[in-house]
């Protein structure tokens, strides 16, 4: 005799609970945290480098770097002289709340204003796993093509800001910015959008202003 038991629970509820713990920890330390997600090669590490260089005089910044195996990205960031923790995911395709929880005690949270988490380069998996940060940010880049909001909708659904990197090469690619933005607008109406180039610096200021506004409003 079988009977049906109602559950109605998000499938990743355990991760969600741990993400909430991470958030509480960050809130208590008054550290504003962002999670950067993107395909491999979209420019996550370049954006972190640019952001740290521009804001380090005004804000105390730390970085958590998720990578499959190497320490290449973490080495680039650590060279900037800010506290950096590397998380090797051991082949896992995304960071999850447990990994961030393990990384947090390795950072001097009491001495930070901003924490930047660099997720594993992947346009699918990180969308499902909340980390507990305050804002999720997606970096798209021109060479990837303008159809990504149509092919990878989950990633575009859940983020709080979108960067379009490498706009310096727009002329070399058939990238229709209007088509791209139209898809984004359907999936995530009103999403903050920052077209920029980490290489030339064009458009960076709007992004940096957004980050600083977020830190200020978080800290009250």
């Amino acid at each position: 005799m079988t009977k049906r038991v109602s559950v109605v629970e998000n499938i990743l509820s355990a991760n969600d609970r741990l993400a909430a713990d991470n958030r509480a920890r960050l809130d208590e330390a008054r550290v504003f945290a962002i999670n950067l997600m993107a395909s491999p090669g979209a420019g996550k590490t370049s954006l972190i480098t640019r952001t740290v260089e521009a804001l380090r005089e005004r804000w105390r910044i730390g970085v958590v770097d998720g990578d499959l195996a190497s320490t290449l990205d973490a080495d680039r960031v650590a060279a900037l002289g800010v506290p950096t923790v590397q998380i090797n995911t051991g082949g896992n395709c995304h960071l999850d709340a447990v990994m961030l929880r393990t990384a947090l005690p390795q950072l001097p949270l009491g001495e930070l204003d901003l924490l930047i988490v660099e997720n594993v380069g992947n346009l699918v998996c990180p969308a499902s796993f909340k980390l507990g940060v305050h804002k999720d940010v997606l970096i798209a880049s021109v060479p990837e093509g303008d159809d990504k909001p149509y092919k990878y909708p989950p990633m575009y659904r859940g983020v709080d800001a979108l960067i379009l990197n490498k706009i310096d090469v727009l002329d070399a690619f058939d990238f229709d910015v209007d088509y791209f933005r139209r898809g984004v607008e359907v999936l995530n109406p009103g999403l903050a959008f920052f077209p920029l180039s980490c290489k030339t610096g064009e458009g960076l200021e709007a992004w940096l202003n957004w980050v600083e506004d977020q830190i200020r409003s978080f800290r009250g």
């Binding site: 990743l12 355990a14 699918v124 898809g183």
Partner: protein, 119 residues
Amino acid sequence: MAEGSVVHELPVTQSLLEIALRHAEAAGAKRIVQLNLVIGQFSSIVDDSVQFYWDIISRGTIAEGARLHFERTPGQLRCVACGEVFSIDGEDYVCPACGSTQVVVVSGDDFRLDSIEVE
């Protein structure tokens, strides 16, 4: 669905097992025979891959051999201009009835274990 989407099914399946066992225990069940999942098209989960991991990790638990029933809710859009509701096709978000690009998402985000069937 997309490249790279096979790997995260393992943690998803582990979470699923944890939730199912917890609810089964609370209900005093001896065996779990079926899990009823509701997964929207905007959630990137491959059914076969979850089933593959499930068969391995459920061994030795009261959920061993349980069926996974996937109810797939389509990613659907609604045209603001004419009210037409249509499914996403992976290429564009344009209303097939009137050609408007003023469309909003109405379904496809589900990602939950709805119920379990137990003995």
